[in-house]
Amino acid sequence: MIERAAVRALLPTLVFFGLVWPVWSAETTQSDESTADHSKFEALQQEFASGPEVTKACLTCHTEASKQLHKTTHWTWAFDNPVNGQELGKKNVINNFCVATATNWPRCTSCHIGYGWKDDSFDLTSEEAVDCLVCHDTTGSYKKYPTGAGHPAYEDKTFPPNNPKGKMFKKVDLKKVAQSVGKTSRATCGACHFYGGGGDGVKHGHLDSSMKNPDKNLDVHMDKDGLNFTCTTCHTTGSHEVAGSRYLTKAVDRRGIVIPGRSDVRASCESCHGMAPHESDDKLNDHTDKVACESCHIPQFARGGRKTKMWWDWSTAGKKNAKGKPLVTKDADGYDVYHGKKGDFVWEENVVPEYYWFDGNMRYTLLGETIDDTSVVQINSFGGGPDDANSRIWPFKVMRGKQPYDKVEKILAIPHLFGKDEAAFWKSFDWDKALEAGLMARGVKYSGQHGFVETEYYWPVTHMVAPKDQSVACNECHSNNGRLENLRGFYLPGRDEFPLISRIGWWLVLLTLLGVLGHALIRIFFWIRER
């Protein structure tokens, strides 16, 4: 009887937690703060045949949205560095992944926030060509087709096309996606930023698909069961401009904690935590002038179970298998370590960053700049040092590899990779044709002779912030052969010696010991003799 009474008493509780709670909590956690329900909007009560049609509908209410986006790097892929005057951005820089965007537009622009950037004729002033959905989709069903120049699949098709073994891209339900729009999320930002360099985790190493729903160990702020930050919690937006830039990094942010009246732009750690964030230990706060937060709080990158590419050697590309198709070799975990189209790769996970003094001012080796082909070419370089108050020790992923260059002109070369024409490297595997076409697209004449030069590309590591108990321990830097072994020009306690002082010091200590020992022995000797 008692048991039955207990069950009867517990039943409502069980029902509540079993049935009501999940629904209720889901509703409260996903509560939409928006005052608008897009499914009720008249402009969206229609079938859309293409992305630009959706944008047209969006613009009937959000009249200024496209004009705002046209000013952003997300749209222009161009960035004028105000510090050193360099013209940067995806449109201009050369990297050591797929090298450059020129001539490869339809493939590259599957990560452009627009529709139709398939060649140089793309109209950067078109308002309807802005892709609202790729950032504001909440259904997870909107995906740009990899070679669609920014368009999603309007019919069911695989990638690679007409390949039954390829990945299926379903026809997107534009009406449903448009009616469900909302704020950006880790998933929408990640749709491009997790896959930079042509695949999951390839480029950054601290941004990959594991960051879509990370746990606390992977990222203490984005922890899905904890703080659950989205990208824009830190990368604050206004007029569609997103805070935080790799091209113009604040190596140290002394603006103070961001509060209304001071600023509404975050992105740096200090904009929330300030310059004295360690409550229990002043000595740790003493580090913030010289050591970036990331240096200690991101002990390793590529920690989420995805490897990142650390080495890409283009010089070996072109090998074919018995069937005449590009040869592909995979490692035990299924990662390509050789691909006939691209060359040799080295993948790593749980990578300890390299550390350098960094002043935030990235200088790129741009197209046409003379390089020294007898040494390793720096794709980007930066200033900073122990005596520069505006620089700090930062962690970097250093992407290394070998890439084509013009042997006569001594400039980095641009391969035309993607396309159905004979010049495309991935079609005919002829470097000279590919480089001629690639350079031509940027108005540079190819000498006809190519080589491969080793390059390094420095990526400041800023994501995958670990919980504090997993941050880099003191002795990992304050020791011999520690993380900062190669950073010189300043005194680092625990690492640096004063050889002369120590030699004299230990000799004096030893002589003193021998002195008192000798004195004692002589006393014992006389004591025995005189007894």
């Binding site: 706060n285 003191c474 304050h478 005194y491 003193t512 006393r523």
Partner: protein, 200 residues
């Protein structure tokens, strides 16, 4: 000759607390310097800093005590009898029956050699460690203190010089005070109980 209280309760407390602190500061300090790994850098530097503040507190008390009691006069240097004491420690001590030339009184409890050694500790080694140590502690405030021209390397280097000097002092002091007395351990006993045989 009579048995008198030579080392007051505070002086004994000060001496032994300082001894412990100095030993642990040397242990942790040489680890922070990178001479060996014992506690790990973080624990070693934390402990070194904590002990530094305790030692500074103790020194403030001790300085106050020395001046209020007038005991500071015990360290005034003198050459009187100095050579005789040096000779005793280098020759006389080896032979039975040779007495220590210095006769301890309540007002002069340290022999001339001790006076010099302790004065050197108090006026050279300790201040060297204290000044460079405090600079080291407040490294981040140098610009605000108008010391922006300093750099950490030399400060750490001089601190290290002080540390070696301290280690040399400790070795010599332990030997002299614990193992050279007649009867054996008389000095050590005096430093523990406070009572020693002194001339009237």
């Amino acid at each position: 000759m009579s048995r008198e209280l030579v080392f007051s309760r505070f002086e004994r407390f000060w001496h032994w607390a300082q001894a412990l602190l100095v030993i642990f500061m040397m242990l942790t300090g040489f680890e922070v310097h990178g001479s060996y790994t014992l506690l790990g850098y973080e624990q070693a530097s934390d402990l070194h800093r904590t002990l530094a503040w305790v030692l500074i507190g103790l020194w403030i008390l001790a300085i106050f005590w020395h001046f209020t009691t007038g005991e500071w006069r015990q360290y005034l240097p003198t050459t009187q009898n100095l050579m005789a004491v040096v000779k005793y420690y280098t020759v006389g001590i080896f032979h039975a029956g040779v007495e220590h030339p210095f006769k301890k009184t309540r007002r002069a409890k340290h022999n001339p050699l001790q006076r010099l050694a302790y004065l050197f500790l108090k006026l050279a080694i300790n201040p060297l460690l204290w000044i460079t140590g405090l600079l080291y502690l407040f490294y981040n405030d140098w610009p605000a203190l108008g010391l922006g021209g300093l750099s950490l390397g030399p400060v750490a280097g001089i601190h290290l010089v002080g540390a070696y000097a301290m280690l040399v002092f400790v070795i010599a002091h332990v030997y002299m005070s614990a193992f050279t007395a007649h009867p054996a351990f008389a000095y050590l006993k005096g430093m523990i109980t406070g009572y020693e045989e002194v001339e009237d």
